[in-house]
Amino acid sequence: MSPLDRKLLRDLWRIKGQAIAIGAVIAVGVLMLVMMTGLVSSLEETRKAYYERYRLAEVFAPVTRAPERVVSELAALPGVAAAEGRVTGAALVDIEGSALPLQARVVSLPDFGEPKLNDVYLTGGRRLEGDRTDEILLLQGFADAHGLVPGDTLRLTVRGARRDFRIVGLAQSPEFLYVTAPGELAPDDARFAVIWMSRTAAEAAFDLQGAFNEALLSMARGASEAAVLDAVDRILEPYGGQTAYGLEDHVSNRFVTEEISGLRTMSTGVPPIFLGVAAFLLYIVISRMVEAEREQIGLMKAFGYNNREVGLHYFKLVIVIAAGGAVTGCLLGIAAGNAMAGLYLEYFKFPFLIFQLSPGPFIIGFLTSILAASAGGLFVLRRVFALTPAVAMRAAAPADYSGAGAFGSALNRLLDQPSRMVLRRITRQPGRMVGAMLGIAAGLALSGAMIAVMSGFDETLGIAFGVIDRSDVTVTFTDARSDKILLELARIPGVKHVEPVRMVPAVLRNGLKTHRGAISGLVPRPRLNRALDSDLDPIEMPGSGVILARPLADILDISPGEMLTIEVREGRQPDLQVPVVGLADSLLGSPAYMDIAAINRALKEPGRVSGAYLAIDASQSEAIYSRLKNMPTVAGVHLKDNARRSFQQLMDSGAGAMRYVMALIAFVITFGIVYNTARIAQAERERDIASLRVIGFTKSEASFVLLGEIAVVTLLALPIGAVLAFFLTFGVAAGFSSDLYQIPAGFGRADFGMAALAVLAASLLSGWLVKRDTDRTDLVSALKSKE
């Protein structure tokens, strides 16, 4: 080992505290990048593998009643690889102890053998046996939520007939990763069941002997989905086809896709911000560290080392720290990504995990750290190289404080000498101080933006369930009914207000952009469920035209004034041309609103309602639920509190859960920045402090010079950080927003307060750590060493 390399190792040992602090900040930035990209690619790979292994269909074609022979017609279509018909429909589950009826979806499995498409993954018990009509498989999530196990009996109501079934097995399916009761946004395992029964049993239950009401298709490689959809629609049309749709419009898949793409948006949007802040800090720290080596650089040059050799030596020092941090970050990132993937595995209900890592984030993280560190080092080295060895070695000339902007004598009289030392350092060496200030401000911005986004989640829930939806209960009817039913609801004792709604399933189309959703028909001035504009003021339903949620307008790429095509997927299935007349800030989901009379008129079904929002007297809720449960026209009853809880859970366990991890990392980086700033200031002032101590200043008096500087820099960084945080919040909030929910970008006073507290706490702790060290400084040796 060459003497220079030995020096390198000893130098590293000497500055180990700071090297570790710098390395840690880089490590955390890289960790974030590696973790997020690893997580996203793993989830995508796993989903793909799950879909393939259990043969999830790529085309779903609902139909009223098609004879079984039509399946072979579908299978023969060009571009179709496999086709299968099945029977599916709605049911109610009667669980003892549950005040509300629970909705369920029944799906048929072939009597013999495995299904060609949409197989199930058995998690307990056994598969259905032959054509036994009293056996069912139950969705694992629902079974868990209600403590049901194979062997238990489940009572179902299908088409008005009540019957008991025996649960023989529990299952999961790529088709039902997420289950959402009709009319609800957030999934809830406890309130929606999926039940598989034999084809024979399902045909009997839904009166579809020898027929199917849903076709599943998989496509040959390279086939055009649009062409297949068209062909399928043509074949099924005579049997009441309701328009085939591809996987991207499938509810569960869309949900998973949305969640994963939320994570992906986050992984591309947020980690670079973190890494950027880390890189900036690295630049500042390294440049000041190399500056402190000035004398040794002069010495090495005096010995005859040339600039390249000296530069290489310090470059190595920088690389060891940066690379050490980057490698640690990669390793921790893999571990964290793996752990997070494990958590999401449970959340997404994937039966297995394919952990996938791509080299991209490693290379990006590694290069960013090393480039930032080298830039910091080289910048200073160039300045030092410009000096002759003799000058570089000379007992450091005192830093020049004679610059312009001398203090007014009035101010001087107010300040004692140590305070002047603090202030002059800030006013006359602005370069260093601005660097330190920007570093701390960036740290504050990072924490602040994360805090703002965290409170944004609460705000979203608060607005969605406090301002937009002010009902207590939502009732959905089995089908669109005469509005006379509203009177029936209003007569229930304890119901204070009834507000009708007409939900119409539809495909919204603007040119090539489509969205499969629904139109919500509301009364002109709703009180319980309202559309709000960006100021949270209610929007009155216009006599004609549609109001779109902002993210929906983005998906459809449409603005107010343009015409929207609404392809209704109910009844006669007309296509409507309706102008977009406004945008609503809905925060949850992506609704489209119309006046209820206008949509009914367009459908030529006047006076129809599909559901109602109720305001009720909480003390009579049990009696009200029991009345609703016994009304045959009521298909579902949803409590707002349940919905709110489901959403909270969704935000806390889905992509949104990442906010906690990221906030933690933001705090680590913020502390790292503040601590490093304090350490650098300490290194630069060590000699001054020792001199003060020798003159007779007490430990506290002497450390005031250092702590005062840290305090002033921190305080100055607060307003700058607030401005940075304000802008950063937009980026981070956009990263956390998806089609499922939007996070408002707002950096408020409370957020600033929290972030400022975090920075001040970090500053106090760093100050305490630094003071502890300066108190221990050996006066003699500190005086002997020249800077």
């Binding site: 404080y401 004679s402 000498q417 001054d688 020798v694 007779g696 006066l779």
Partner: protein, 246 residues
């Protein structure tokens, strides 16, 4: 004329410093370095005392201990009737603040304070200080008092350091190689200032140096070697710094 240690110790009641068996060991075991090996020494007040010796002889270590910057490993170090070895860190700080002025080879000025402000740094915390202007005048710096250290020459910086050290009217002025970084002309000027401080303020001045010529201006010269006092010489006459051969 050499005098024996015993004769000096008869004047104990007059001593400003007295050490008994003062030892300083750095490190442990085989790697231990004995910087001071049981030094017995008496320094009377009001004198200029020069500590001479090659580097590593222990003279700076002694200065640091009796200056309250460091502690001995063993033995006693008395400042009048106080044993510095028994003092806490806080008491040592008070001791330095009230009694001692320091001048170092590398000046140790605060770069962010002007010459006058560097002096004020001390006058603000001292009990009965001089006017900063007066202290600066004493070292011959009447004019450049509003300049920052970066704008002053080495000799000027050292004179500011002396002004800072004497402004509190210290009982003792410690100077560790005060002329080490200076040329002969500036060095003489600095020594003159030290002599003047001794004469006008009555401060005891302790100068650590390896420039033997400096010894001519001292009342007392203590030769150090291998961590102990080799010889103490009292000069009957003191040379003027101008006459000192550099």
């Amino acid at each position: 004329m050499p005098v024996s240690q015993i004769e000096i110790s008869e004047n104990l009641h007059e001593a400003i410093y007295r050490t008994v068996g003062l030892t300083k060991v750095y490190g442990e075991g085989a790697a231990a370095v004995h910087a001071l090996r049981g030094v017995d020494l008496v320094i009377p007040p009001g004198e200029i005392v020069v500590l001479l010796g090659p580097s590593g002889s222990g003279k700076s270590t002694l200065l640091n201990i009796i200056g309250g910057l460091d502690r001995g490993t063993d033995g006693e170090a008395w400042f009048e009737d106080q044993n510095l070895a028994d003092m806490s860190d806080a008491e040592l700080t008070i001791y330095r603040r009230d009694n001692v002025g320091f001048v170092f080879q590398f000046y140790n000025l605060m770069p962010s304070l002007t010459a006058r402000e560097n002096v004020e740094l001390v006058t603000e915390i001292a009990d009965d200080p001089m006017d900063p202007g007066e202290a600066l005048a004493l070292v011959g710096l009447h004019e450049r008092t509003d300049h920052f250290p970066a704008q002053l020459s080495g000799g000027e910086q050292q004179r500011v350091a002396i002004a800072r050290a004497i402004a509190k009217r210290p009982r003792v002025l410690f100077c560790d190689e005060p002329t080490g970084a200076l040329d002969s002309k500036t060095g003489r000027a600095v020594l003159k200032v030290l002599k003047e401080v001794n004469e006008t303020l009555g401060s005891t001045v302790l100068i650590v140096t390896h420039a033997a010529a400096t010894a001519d201006m001292a009342h007392r010269v203590i030769h150090f070697a291998d961590g102990d006092v080799r010889e103490v010489i009292e000069n009957e006459t003191q040379a003027d710094p101008d006459e000192i051969e550099w």
